[in-house]
Symmetry: C2
Subunit: 193 residues, 2 copies
């Protein structure tokens, strides 16, 4: 495994904290404790990343590989990503404390301009056995795969080489008409990508 640079880590904090906000609101709308717990696990990961960034940044200053001003910016960005992830965790906390959301509030959040949905991949689906790079779901359906569940393991921020298998659960975000398209593809109802 390639050693991660401090830049890789800042990017990871940014991406993961944005994903956490998505997952947190999603767990709230769908009363989904599993997703809420995943937000908690991600927060632990972000804390680790943050500490790692702090240590590496200071080491870079010591070795004069990074100026003090650049280092301050890196530390600031990492801290802000960490604060966003804290807020996301507290949103998930509403779910984990088993607070039943008022139906009207739930409906209202669901009416957001983008939907967040979880979809099971059927063995008849043309998605099964293909990589995300082959499928180009983002540009074809408008739905963007934010996370996947594969053999009881979570995968966040899947990339072009990630393969979808039958039985996987896709967590996708996008416009409402894209959701229907993706559901039809995942259930095998449509082969027309």
């Amino acid at each position: 495994m390639k050693k991660k640079t401090v830049e890789d880590l800042v990017l990871e904090v940014k991406d993961k904290s944005e994903l956490m906000v998505d997952l947190a609101y999603s767990s709230l709308i769908y009363d989904n404790m599993t997703i809420a717990e995943e937000v908690y696990d991600l927060e632990d990961l972000i804390d680790e990343l943050y500490q790692d960034i702090q240590k590496k940044t200071l080491q870079h200053i010591e070795k004069k590989e990074l100026s003090v001003n650049d280092a301050l910016t890196v530390l600031r960005l990492a801290e802000l990503g960490e604060r966003i992830s804290d807020a996301a965790q507290e949103i998930a906390d509403v779910v984990l404390r088993d607070v039943e959301l008022h139906p009207i509030i739930k409906m209202s959040i669901r009416e957001s301009d983008q939907v967040f949905t979880s979809i099971n991949v059927d063995e008849k689906s043309i998605l099964a056995g293909k990589t995300l790079g082959e499928l180009k779901l983002g540009s074809e359906t408008g739905m963007y795969i934010r996370a996947m569940r594969h053999e009881n393991k979570w995968l966040y921020g899947p990339d072009k080489n990630t393969k979808i298998d039958a039985g996987d659960i896709l967590f996708a975000k996008g416009p409402e008409d894209g959701e229907k398209h993706l559901i039809d593809l995942a259930t095998g109802k449509s082969k027309d990508i």
Copy 2:
């Protein structure tokens, strides 16, 4: 104009705070002071929304239209949205303080799994004169229009009835291959939506 309910306001805080995070990182990557300033303006709007939610929620309790538990959840969600928007504002602040981001950090953030891009609409473009509802850009290109600039005015969270005109600037988010498709449509290079 329809009077906004407390649920509408919570949804607005959620959507605007997520948009602010997008815009803030975008202003950072593209060194764009205009976008950074818009993040500041949005923060003022969120503050107003937050105060409005607090007042309306307490009034609902007084009139026994909302239970204390539901009210606490509403206040909590609004507060967390507000905290996310605060963090976004501080990210934009890095840009406004004119901190030059280290090129490697900038490249790294740009390599994120989704791109955020600003695109001018040419008069030859097939997008000009059509509504977002007619175009279905989200499902056709994977690019989601987060904000638009029209005749020196900003429009956040455009909806199905929003019309694109030649000269508008679109702020869109999505996968990298979707960006090229949308640029080709906006410049008039491609008519194939």
